[in-house]
């Protein structure tokens, strides 16, 4: 374990003694939380603390257009928010206790979409997406708030989309780390087809764990669903952190070992009939 020296002064009887404090400088994993559209870091703080208690440094933050910068809600773009995510990632990866080769990113809805793209721009070892949203690649610089109408998202999200036709899904296709995908059974904002698009894109992932929260809506408005998501996320992180570090397999070997068990066949295929969608809170 590496250590770090620190020169210190110890005061006694009005004098100063010189000393050297040596602390263990063990690097730990970092976990970045990216909230959804209309959310804030507050939604993730309790989970951030539970996961920090597993021995990680965690960071939750407010995307531009939210919380303190709510005034930009109508104008902020995906380009802006992706730079936010990059800045937060870099902040976390530079933390002196964080192992930059062991970063997890956890995103919900719009935050999941940004997290997926992030993996093409920065090293990410573990990626947890809850109800990840999907947008057309066009209009990258127009206000995010306009996308639902401009891009005809309700229809788009009922369409099978592959990695070649989406920046986010393309990033997923290239991702070789461990993946957790959590779906809500009754999600009318991010319908099942979108989750299926994501799941199918992760064909090079070292492992894929897919779970559905029964009865849940997009925003997990019932506390039981919130708890279930927390348990899923913490259990998955715990399992991944317990795995031997530095014993990474090659993507090819890993691909072959994706657990079929982790994919529940009952919910694993796109539905034969499209679920009802409604306006709801655009995500």
């Amino acid at each position: 374990m590496p250590t770090r020296d620190e020169r210190v002064d110890i005061e006694v009887d009005g004098q100063r003694l010189e000393g050297t404090l040596v602390t263990p400088a063990r690097l730990v994993p970092g976990v970045l939380f990216v909230h959804g559209w209309g959310g804030s870091q507050q939604q993730y703080l309790a989970r951030a603390r539970v996961i920090a208690a597993l021995g990680c440094v965690t960071l939750a933050f407010d995307l531009r257009g939210h919380a303190q910068t709510r005034a930009q809600y109508e104008t902020v773009t995906r380009a802006d928010n992706l730079r936010d995510v990059l800045a937060a990632y870099d902040f976390l990866a530079r933390h002196r206790a964080v192992d930059p080769a062991a970063i997890a990113v956890v995103g919900s809805s719009y935050g999941g979409y940004l997290a997926a793209i992030l993996t093409s721009l920065r090293p990410v070892k573990w990626l947890a997406l809850r109800v990840p949203a999907l947008y057309r690649d066009s209009g990258w610089e127009i206000a995010k708030q306009l996308l639902r109408k401009e891009q005809g998202l309700e229809a788009y999200r009922l369409t099978a989309v592959g990695p070649d036709d989406s920046r986010a899904l393309g990033a997923c296709h290239s991702f070789v780390g461990d993946v957790l995908i959590v779906e809500s059974e009754h999600d009318v904002i991010v319908p099942r087809q979108v989750v299926a698009n994501y799941r199918e894109a992760f064909s090079h992932a070292r492992s894929l764990t897919y779970r559905m929260i029964a009865g849940a809506d997009h925003g997990l408005t019932d506390n039981r669903w919130q708890r279930e998501y927390t348990e899923l996320l913490v259990g998955w992180m715990h399992e991944k952190l317990a795995a031997p570090r530095g014993l990474e397999r090659t993507p090819a070997a890993a691909k072959a070992s994706i657990s079929a068990r982790a994919i529940d066949p009952q919910h694993g295929d796109p539905p034969s009939t499209a679920p009802t969608t409604s306006a709801g809170t655009p995500n």
Copy 2:
């Protein structure tokens, strides 16, 4: 594991995002090093780093009268230096990463004497004494440098002294933690009788490990002896740190389990003939 929240600002595009960094706040043992008369923190820095790498926060420091405050060498008293040790202990115990119930103190010669007394004033869990020196209780406020002559230390150190007749040995008698005592085979400053006095005083210690460095002089002037001491100390710390925390036995139960094995009978009894002493560096 407890965690700690920290509000952070993340800069992006000339704006600031608010975030919350959560870090694991696991408390680790603290280890304090007290050098001997005429020494300095430098002698302990390498060992302080090795032991920090075991997962401790360690602190080495310069006693008054040494290094930067060498000008006080002729006038500094035991009372002064004991306050130094207390100040350093308190500095370490207050460190945010340190478990104040898990402090080790490591002292050599005069530093071992001060460390022994410290255990009567502050909680100490592990105590490692290398060739601990002994002084008469009288003259507490006179210059340390005068003690050898004033107290007739050469003769005093050939005398069997018990806990009732010495502040330092009395502290050892009351100590209920784990003890390491390291003797030098050819020590003319701290003769065998002094080490025997210390060893016999620790009748309530949870465990007692006694070792002699064959052929060594008081100051470990050969690098081989230095290495042997480092190995002994690090091995002992490693063993103690590996023991289950929070599973402390009562002093009575502990007393019965002091390992006879750890006391080498060949060197365990006071010698039948007193070893030769010489002036050397007074300690």
